[in-house]
Every structure is written in structure tokens, then in C-alpha cells.
């Protein structure tokens, strides 16, 4: 069972996404700030990280940058999931090593398709 780390600070989105992801058969761990996200990524070593940008304590960009600096952790695909639709933000995310950038709101089907494709790709890479 693939494990997904959900980094999100909105309570209702967490609730919806948890149902969505767990319903699709993933093991989900949730953290709601940047520092916890980094800690959890190192401790738990998920198969994929869904990362919001606007986060307390440490923003998503910084989390992404930190995780991508580590030789092992950087292999974990990161999908940025943000309400920010600015081109510069998308560009920055890719520059920092994020695998994808999804603008909220997103259709559950589409999100699950993407997650699945990254997890498959990841397995192929291993």
C-alpha cells in the first residue's frame, strides 16, 4: 500500500482529501505546517508528498527545497497543490524540484490519476 504525506493547513481540505485518498486505497499521513512536513518526510519516508504552498511556520517552497537537498528524500515525488495560480510560483516550484503543480480546485479524479502516474513512475525508476 503506497503511502502519501499530505501537507495541508485547511481542515476541510484535509478532511476531503483524506476521504478521497484513503478511498483510493492509500495510506495517508497528514501534517499541517512546514516544519512537521520536513520531520515527517524524514521519519516516515512516504512514497509521495502532496504539498501546499501557503503553510504556517515554513512555506511549501522552503519545504520542497529542504527535502530536495537530501540525497534519499529527494527521490520522493512532490506534487505541489496550491490555490496560487501565478506563473512565477509554478516556475519556482519546478525550479525547486517539484514533480508537478496542481492548481486548486482540482477534480478528485484528475488528482488521483496524477498520483497514480507518479507512483507508477517511481516504481519503474527503482
Amino acid at each position: 500500500m503506497s503511502r502519501i504525506l499530505l501537507v495541508e493547513d485547511s481542515k476541510n481540505i484535509i478532511r476531503v482529501l483524506k476521504i478521497c485518498l484513503q478511498g483510493a486505497g492509500y495510506e495517508v499521513e497528514v501534517v499541517s505546517n512546514g516544519i512537521d512536513a520536513v520531520d515527517m518526510a524524514f521519519q516516515w519516508k512516504p512514497d509521495l508528498i502532496l504539498l501546499d504552498i501557503k503553510l504556517p511556520k515554513m512555506n511549501g517552497f522552503l519545504v520542497c527545497e529542504t527535502l530536495k537537498e537530501d540525497e534519499l528524500i529527494k527521490e520522493i515525488p512532490i506534487i505541489m497543490l496550491s490555490a496560487k495560480a501565478e506563473e512565477e510560483d509554478i516556475k519556482r516550484a519546478y525550479e525547486l524540484g517539484a514533480q508537478d503543480y496542481i492548481i486548486k480546485p482540482v477534480e478528485p479524479k484528475k488528482l488521483l490519476n496524477k498520483i497514480e502516474s507518479y507512483l507508477k513512475g517511481g516504481e519503474r525508476n527503482e
Partner: protein, 615 residues
Amino acid sequence: MKKNFSLKTKILFGYMAIIMIIIVLVIWSINNFMRLNKAIDAIMEENYRSVIAAEEMREAVERQDSAQLIFIFGQEKKALDIFQANKLEFTKNLARAEDNITIEGEENIITTINKEYQEYLSMFLDLRVILEEDNEEMVQNYYLNEIIPQFEDVKSGIRDLLIINQDHMKSAQQNANNNAMQAIYSTIVISIVVVLLALVFGFYISNIIIRPIKELTEKAKDIAEGDLEQTIDISKNDEIGQLASEFNSMSRSLKDYEDMNVNKLISEKSKSDAIVRSISNPLVVTDKKNRIILINPRAEELFELEEDKVIKTHFLEVIKEEDIFSLIDRTLKTGEGQSSSDNNLLSFNRDGKDFYFRVTTNPVLDDNNNTNLVIVLFEDVTHLKEVDQMKSEFVSTVSHEFRTPLTSMNMSASMLLEGNLGKVNEEQVELLEVIKEDCERLNNLVDDLLDLSKIESGKIDLQFNEVDIDRLFDASLRPFKEQANDKGIELMIKGKVDGLKAYGDLNKITWVISNLIGNALRYTDEGDSIKLSAERKGHKIHLSVEDTGAGIPKSYQNKIFDKFMRVGSDKDKDTGSGLGLAISKEIIEAHGGRIWVDSKEGEGSTFTFTLKRPK
């Protein structure tokens, strides 16, 4: 007492004096000539006649002597005639000499001559007596011993007369010579004196005239050089004095006039100075050579300068801002005002706070429309910039805050609709779809609000490039192809667009066309068509999106480019924000183009906009 003579009188006076001197000289000369003449006359009158008389007398007495000899030799009658005739001649001449006694001693000589001559005559009588006695020897003796000596005595008297007169003639000549020499010398002396006097008068008169004129000239020069404090101190009442007084009144008037103008200028200058100083924005004025000629207190503060130290210094030496200088330079060259763009504001960091200034340059034109000065105004836009920042932060925050709940709502509705979480009935599906559609609508509204706020705040950055219409249409159509197919609407490019080019921002124009296609799709049904076309018209290119949809009622046609204006409230499936056309209009106008609609209700609409062609 003041002299009241005019210059003319003075000159005449001087001339009169010189004429008087010349008259004196002439009289003196005439006097000398007359003296000379008199001396010559004296010679003629006093001596010459006496000399002639003496010569005549000597001749007469010598003929009488001959007559006596003729008498002795017997020719008595002839001898007596000659004797008597010459006696008469002698007496006549003696009388002449007597009448002309002029020299001292002359009278004695004549008396002696007369006495000797009477003796000589009486001796002739004695001779005649002796001859009658016929004593030839006695006659001869008497003649030789008595008459000859007496004859010599007469002659000697005559010689004395001659000598005395000749001597006197010589002395008279000497006298005349002396007089002539004296006349020459005195004339020379007097002439020299007259010439000197004339010179002195000349100098004096010309000085009288020239000196004040010189003074006038000097003062006039000073006035010409701008020193209007000149007055001429000439108390004379002549023409020069009048000229001087007129000159003084002229220079006074000039000074009054100048004072008036200077006062006016000073008041104007202090007025403009006060205005410049009171301007709360920093301001710098530069001249043709880009030197600073004015800087107001706010600008001194801003650039941390002191006006006195930077005046007449080149702008770049003082304010090292190439961007501002290029604006000044362009204004100087083109004579047109310039302004720094919003992306190129002048920024300062003072006390940890950022300040932003928009720089505007304006030319000051002279009479010939040449740029004389450039006014550089620094407009403090820090506040605007802050507001702008606040606005975009606000919009960004709001949109984020909106999107988060929208996301959870949308996802929830989607997941329920998918039916993975349990079966939903028909009514439940309908309700969930309502939720989903309105979520989408709200989301679009947030997107458009963000776009519009960016455009309106001037934040939109147009990247001008050559745009291939071919490529533009392709990029705009592609995302709609599936949707159009699904709805059974024909979506195509009408006519040939190969080679047509526009000048603009590809992404923004794509956005506009996409928006127009999206609108058209919303108002068209199965069997309708949407056609894109492009046409070159002069320097512009016209791009159109034509549909065969519902069309727009006339009453709406003017308003559809306004914000939140939507046509057809019956279109309940519509998820548009009502901002698309407003944004399109902003974008096209930012390109310098125009957008409009031609539409007939029930027949369809054609949206057309213009763009520039590449140069």
C-alpha cells in the same frame, strides 16, 4: 555769477578776439609801410631837388666862365648873351635851393654861394671896364688872378651843397633801411604773438566744447554697460549744459524704468521661487548643457545635497542616476515631456524604509520652440506603490482564501457525484451538480478578478513581439476543440491567414481570443459554427470571432464590455464571471487597439478587434 552765454556766442567771441588781433596786426603793418614811405619821400623832397639845383648851378657858372673867355677874345655881344642867360639860370636854381633848405648848415652854404656868386658877377663888370681900356695883358691877368679863384670859390660852395645833400641822402637811406628792418622784426614778433594767442584761444574754445562732450561720452559708455547711476555735473547753461541736463533726465528715466522692470522681475522671480520651494515634490531644473540651475529644498533633502554646492554642476556629477539623465537628455533632444515607466521607478532606502519616485521631465521652450531648460519632477509614489501592493496582496489573499473552501466544496461534490462513496439518487445528483457549477463559477470569478486587478493596476506587462496569426489561432482553438466537438459546433479558421502578422503580446492576445471563443461556445448550440478570421487593413490587422449563435440584443451591445455585464439570464448553465470582455477590452486597449461587436439577435455575433502590424 553764472555765465549765460551760449556755446555759439562763445565760439563767436573767440573768433572775434582772433579777428581783433589780426586787425591790430594789419594796422601795425600799415603804419610801418607808411613810415617807410615817408622816409623815401624825405629823400626825394629834401635832398634830391637840392642836388639837381646844385648841378644846374655848377653848369650855369661854368658856361658863364666860358662866356667870360669868349668875351676876352672879342666876341662881346655873344658873350654877354650867354652870360646873362646863365646868370638867370643860376639865380633860378639858387632860389630853388634856397626854397629847399632841409638840412642844418645848408642855409649857410647857400648864403656863401650867393655872396661868392655876387662877387663873381661884380668881377665880370670890372673885367669889362678893364677891357675897354684895351689893356690886353691886364685883362688876362685879372681873369687868371681874380676871376678864376672867385669861380673856384663859387664852385666850391656848390660842391659843399652837393656833398651835404648827398650825405643826407645816404643817412636817409640808412634810416629807411632801418625802418624796414624794424617793420619786419616787429611784424614777425607780433605775428608770433598772434599765432600763439590764436592757438591759446583755439585750445581754450575747443576745450570748452570738447571736455563736457568727452564727459558725456564716458557716461554714455557707462550707461551702455549697464551702470545707470550716472549723472553729469555740468553747471553750464549753454547747449552742452542743456545736453547734459537732458542726458541726466534720460539716465534717470532709464534707471526708473530699469528699477521698475527689475522690481517686476524680482517679484516674479521671488514668486516663482516661492512656488518652486513650496512644491512638496523634489524638483530639479537643468539647462541646455545639463547643468543644474535650480534645486528645491525637497530635492536637496532627497539627494542629500546643498543647492549652493551643486548649482552649475552637470546633473550626472551630482545625481548619479543614468535612467533619469536619459529622460532629461531625451526631453532636451525631442522637446517632449518624458516620464519613467512604472517598472522603472526611482527607489531609495531611507531609514530602512523604501521610497519610490516617478520621474517626469518637462521642457521649457523659448520663443523659437527650442528647449531651454528641463524641469525634472520627482513624484513620490511610495504611497501609491504601497496601496498597489496592498491591493494585490489583498486580492491574492482573498483569492486564496476563496479557493481553499471552494476546493473542499468542489472536491466533496465531485466525490459524491462519482458514487464511490455510496449511491446518490437523481435529485441528490442535481443538487450536487448545482453546488459544483456554482463552485466553478465562483472560481472563475476569482480568476478573472485577479487578472483584472493586475491589468488595472498597470501591473500587466505586455511582451511585444511579432505574432503569427496562424500560430495565434491554432493556440487559441486547440483547448476548445474537444468541447466544440462534444457540443456539435463547427470551430474553424475562415479564409487564409498564412503570412499575416500582428505586433503584440502572444499570451495576452491568445487569452482574448480564447475568451471570445469561450463566450461563443456558451451562446451557441448544436449545428452552429464559430469562425476565426484575420484581415489586413492599412497599418492595422483586424481579427474576428464570428458565431451563428443567439446574438446579442441591441440594448446590450453597448454594455457588454462593462464589468459584470452578462447577456441572457436564462443561460443557467453559464459559469462566466462577467469580467471576460472587460478584461479583453483592457488588454486590447493596452495594445493600442479597439474591440467591438456586430450582432443580430437570432443570427449570431461577430467580435472584432484591431492590432498593430509589425513595423
